[in-house]
C-alpha cells in the first residue's frame, strides 16, 4: 500500500469537514441533496453543481480546486433504507 499516486495531495481539512457534515444530523438534513465543501465547524460552499462548489471553495480557501473534497450529502434516514426495486419491469424479470 502506498500513498504515492502522483496526484495532488488531498486537502485533509475538507476530508474532515466532509465527515463532520455527514455525521451531523442537523447539517445533513439542511444540506440533503446538495454537494458541500466544509472544514470542521464551517461549511465553505454548497450547491447542486459539484464542480462549481469546488471552485467556490477553492477561491475562499485559496487553494487548488483539485485538492478539495466535495461531499454529496444525503438525509440521515438514507443510511439504513432498503435497496430500491425498479418497478418499471415485468414481474418476471429476475432481481439482480
Amino acid at each position: 500500500m502506498s500513498t504515492e499516486t502522483g496526484q495532488p495531495e488531498l486537502n485533509w481539512d475538507t476530508a474532515n469537514g466532509a465527515y463532520w457534515v455527514t455525521h451531523d444530523d442537523d447539517l445533513s438534513r439542511q444540506y440533503a441533496g446538495k454537494w458541500v465543501v466544509a472544514v470542521p465547524g464551517r461549511v465553505i460552499s454548497a450547491g447542486d453543481d459539484p464542480e462549481a462548489v469546488a471552485a467556490e471553495a477553492a477561491r475562499i480557501l485559496q487553494c487548488d480546486m483539485s485538492t478539495i473534497l466535495v461531499r454529496s450529502v444525503v438525509h440521515p434516514d438514507e443510511y439504513y433504507k432498503d435497496y430500491p426495486f425498479y418497478a418499471g419491469l415485468p414481474a418476471s424479470q429476475p432481481a439482480g
Binding site: 500500500m1 499516486t5 496526484q7 476530508a15 480546486m65 444525503v74 433504507k81 429476475p94 439482480g96
Partner: protein
C-alpha cells in the same frame, strides 16, 4: 522476510436505533468507507460494502461523472441490479483514512453501472460487492456487539 505493507481503512457503520412498539428497538447500519475520486475536483459519495452483493454497483449519476469503461457481456445477471437495467463496466476509486492521512492506490471497481436515476442516496452511491474484495485482494473484518459494530477493510 515478508515486506508487504498492509493498510486498514476503518468501516463507519452509522448505526441508528429504530424503535418498535414498547421498549423494542433495532440497531441498523451499513459498513461505509470514505473514498476519494480524482478529477479536476474530488467528488465523495456514499460508498459501502455489501457482502451479499456478488458484484459492485455504481449509481446512474456517478456513471456520468466518473471515468469508466464498459465491459461487454451477454450475462443478463450483469446487466440488471434489483430489476434496474445496468451496464457492466470498470472504474477505480481510492480509499482514504482521515486519522492517518492515508490514501490508497487506485482500486479496481468492476460493477454494474445503473442506467436509471434512483432516489436511493440521492442517486450518488457505490456498493462494493464481493468481487471488489477479490479484485483488490482485500480483507474485510466486522465484529458485532449488542451495542455496536466495528471493523475495517484491509488492503495490501
Amino acid at each position: 522476510m515478508n515486506t508487504t505493507k498492509t493498510t486498514r481503512f476503518t468501516l463507519d457503520f452509522r448505526l441508528r436505533n429504530l424503535r418498535g412498539s414498547g421498549a423494542q428497538s433495532v440497531s441498523v447500519g451499513r459498513p461505509f468507507v470514505e473514498i476519494d475520486s480524482q478529477f479536476t475536483f474530488r467528488p465523495q459519495v456514499d460508498c459501502f460494502v455489501d457482502t451479499g452483493a456478488a458484484v459492485s454497483v455504481v449509481s446512474w449519476s456517478l456513471r456520468r461523472e466518473f471515468a469508466w469503461k464498459q465491459i461487454r457481456t451477454s450475462h443478463p445477471e450483469l446487466s440488471l441490479w434489483n430489476g434496474v437495467p445496468s451496464d457492466f463496466g470498470e472504474t477505480s476509486i481510492r480509499l482514504i483514512d482521515r486519522v492517518r492521512l492515508a490514501t490508497s492506490l487506485p482500486l479496481r471497481v468492476v460493477a454494474k453501472f445503473v442506467r436509471t436515476p434512483l432516489a436511493f442516496h440521492n442517486d450518488r452511491f457505490i456498493i462494493l460487492g464481493l468481487n471488489f474484495l477479490m479484485d483488490n485482494a482485500a480483507k474485510l473484518e466486522i465484529a458485532g456487539q449488542p451495542w455496536n459494530l466495528a471493523g475495517y477493510l484491509e488492503l495490501s
